[in-house]
């Protein structure tokens, strides 16, 4: 099992603790993405796995071996850096071969490894070039080539796509995924971009303030965020959150806010919360825009329509807070400006505790 285990990992800088006991099991061949806002400790965690930061407390195990005090080079991991760290004075072939030369591999091994890696990454025609003469995407490939060539047990990626423009990022994202499918090497990938996390990960680890908020497959996290932080971090645009008071009408629950009544699912947990505030989470994609005359719609004040082509974003105000709806343009393009409210199926609403921000029990949907 060449997985990676983190056991209560803590990182302290002097008196300041920045990572507070992270536990994580990364299975062999799994692609795990650590995602979170800047300063959440994701990069520090990755660097502790790499051996570039000392581990203040806890244990890191790679392939069944505790590596806390093992030098980075002996951990059998390879890392792709945000700025690629390509040596400007070496050409592509020498950049790729750098690690092999340091490890005194034979000339034949080095030559065949370069050929193989260049073939995989489509760099064969660029082997003689210096990094300065390469495009952003090519540099990115060289950086990956340098990691691949050593055939490590684990790949570590530290925001590898953040220096690329949007189009190239999409393209390289797919390439990284294909590469992983092909090589099947355990990978841990750090990013602040939730789209990268959603598209690349077998499992996503959402981090915040040095702690893990939630671990799960992308769809699990998208559908069943455990708290409002995860709910607002994943998804674009983020989940709308509205504070509502729970009331019971007959055997049904409704959320009441700003003169609106929103039917809620029949959760056992809600019984005890009648009369209390909860946070109602509504994904922009899940609502159906309504025009005048639609019954039981939640009224919004439409403010701005942004058309993106196949879809449109309706920016509105609801209970004095911004509310966003993602609408299809294929059917009702001309009517978007007439939208007066929305309807949503109760089971698509995610309800969080008004004080702890944790999701109420019993509402998870199968991902």
């Amino acid at each position: 099992m060449s997985g990676v285990q983190l056991d209560g990992i803590i990182k302290r800088y002097g008196a300041v603790q920045v990572v507070h006991g992270v536990d994580l099991n990364v299975a062999e061949k799994e692609f795990v993405v650590l995602v979170g806002p800047s300063g959440c400790g994701k990069s520090t965690t990755l660097r502790m796995i790499a051996g570039l930061e000392e581990i203040s407390d806890g244990e890191v195990t790679i392939d069944g071996r505790m590596v806390n005090r093992v030098a980075p080079k002996d951990r059998d991991v390879a890392m792709v850096f945000q700025n690629y760290a390509l040596y400007p004075h070496l050409n592509v072939a020498d950049n790729i071969a750098f690690g092999l030369r340091i490890r005194r591999e034979s000339k034949e091994v080095i030559a065949s490894s370069i050929d193989e890696v260049a073939g995989i990454l489509g760099l064969t025609d660029y082997l003689d070039r210096r990094p300065a003469d390469l495009s952003g995407g090519q540099r990115q490939r060289v950086a990956m080539g340098r990691a691949i060539v050593r055939r490590p047990k684990v790949f570590l990626f530290d925001e590898p796509l953040s220096n690329l423009d949007a189009k190239l990022r999409t393209q390289m994202r797919a390439e990284i995924k294909r590469l992983h499918n092909r090589l099947g090497v355990t990978s841990i990938y750090v990013t602040h971009d939730q789209v990268e996390a959603m598209t690349l990960a077998d499992r996503i680890v959402v981090m915040h303030d040095g702690r893990i908020e939630q671990v799960g497959t992308p769809m699990e996290l998208f559908m069943n965020p455990v708290n409002t932080f995860v709910a607002s971090f994943l998804g674009s645009p983020p989940m709308n959150q509205v504070t509502a008071k729970v009331e019971k009408v007959g055997s049904d629950f409704v959320g009441v806010f700003a003169g609106n009544r929103l039917p809620l699912a029949r959760l056992g947990d809600l019984e005890a919360r009648v009369g209390q505030d909860v946070v109602v989470g509504i994904r922009p994609e899940y609502v159906t825009p309504a025009t005048d005359g639609v019954k039981d719609q939640v009224r919004i004040e439409l403010d701005l329509v942004e058309t993106l082509g196949s879809e449109a974003l309706l920016h509105a105000m609801l209970a004095d807070a911004p509310f966003v709806i993602k609408a299809d343009t294929t059917t009702a393009a001309s009517k978007l400006s007439d939208v007066t409210g929305f309807t949503i199926a109760p089971e698509l609403i995610r309800i969080f505790d008004g004080e702890t921000d944790l999701a109420l029990a019993g509402q998870d949907r199968p991902a």
Binding site: G51, V77, A78, F81, Q82, N83, A85, Y87, G99
Partner: protein
């Protein structure tokens, strides 16, 4: 704007005025060199009479012939090359690894070691204790004393350290993950990445060594070991007092003035040869050594 087509007439006049002032300054910089070269190529009589202004009068190579016939001239010339090359190599052997170590954030006691370097720039014991120390170390009248005794200069260390620090940490980290040890990181990654800074420090060392005079004068008594600058000083100071020499002058084409000028020209020539190379780097270097932590 790279041409003046779009300038107003007033601006054009202003620019020409600037160019005029620069020309005046440049010519007054250049003139003393031309003057000294002209003297070195004139006859002793004309030089002594003050008739040389811009070009050689009664052109002769007599002064140069006299100079190149002096054994001491060649000995001191050779010594200067020894001190310059040997001293610069010595300096780099100390400074490059030292500055690299000081630039590493994870170096234990880093603040203390850096302070130890910086303090030498703020406070030094002065001429006498330094001289007594060199004497106690047995480094008077010694090639090694000159090359080793001035190997490190805090400014150069800090200049190079700052450059190393500015290289993104990920270069070191990538190399370390590839299995490189600290020596390999320095040799294979940081030194190639720091060529301009190393060239600048090398340049400072070379210029300092080539021009070094005071300590060579103080520490070296042996005429076989003195560098060109000390020899030149001796010529200037002694030639005119040397009765034997002055006596030989009457029927010669050279004079104290032309011989001094010839030695000056001879010791400027190597500087002029390397000057284009020097120029390429010092612009960058002064920026590197500029005002920054």
């Amino acid at each position: 704007m790279t041409n003046m087509n779009l300038y107003s007439p007033g601006d054009k006049v202003f620019v020409y005025l600037c160019m005029f002032l620069i020309s005046v300054f440049a010519l007054s910089t250049l003139y003393p060199f031309i003057y000294i070269a002209a003297i070195s190529l004139s006859t002793g009589f004309e030089a002594r009479a003050g008739n040389v202004v811009l070009t050689p009068v009664d052109t002769t190579l007599a002064a140069y012939e006299y100079v190149v016939a002096q054994r001491e001239f060649w000995v001191s010339y050779r010594n200067t090359f020894i001190y310059t090359i040997g001293g610069t190599i010595t300096s780099l052997l100390f400074i490059i690894p030292g500055a690299y170590a000081l630039s590493r954030p994870h170096l234990y006691g880093r603040r203390f070691w850096n302070l130890m370097v910086a303090f030498t720039m703020w406070f030094n014991a002065g001429l006498i204790p330094f001289f007594l120390n060199m004497r106690d170390l047995g480094l008077l009248d010694s090639y090694i004393g000159i090359m080793l005794g001035f190997a490190i200069n805090g400014f150069n260390v800090i200049l190079l350290r700052n450059f190393f620090e500015a290289i993104p940490q990920s270069f070191e980290e990538a190399a370390r993950m590839d299995g490189a040890n600290e020596f390999q990181v320095l040799w294979k990654v940081y030194m190639p990445l720091s060529k301009p800074a190393i060239a600048t420090v090398t340049l400072f060392c070379v210029v300092g060594r080539w021009n070094g005079f005071f300590w060579a004068m103080v520490l070296l008594q042996d005429g076989e070991k003195i560098p060109l600058q000390v020899y030149l000083r001796q010529v200037i100071a002694q030639l005119s007092d040397d009765e034997e020499f002055t006596a030989t002058l009457l029927d010669q084409a050279y004079s104290v003035e032309t011989v001094t000028a010839a030695i000056i020209v001879a010791s400027i020539i190597p500087v002029l040869i390397f000057y284009p190379f020097i120029q390429k780097y010092f612009n960058k270097g002064i920026m590197l050594g500029g005002v920054k932590e």
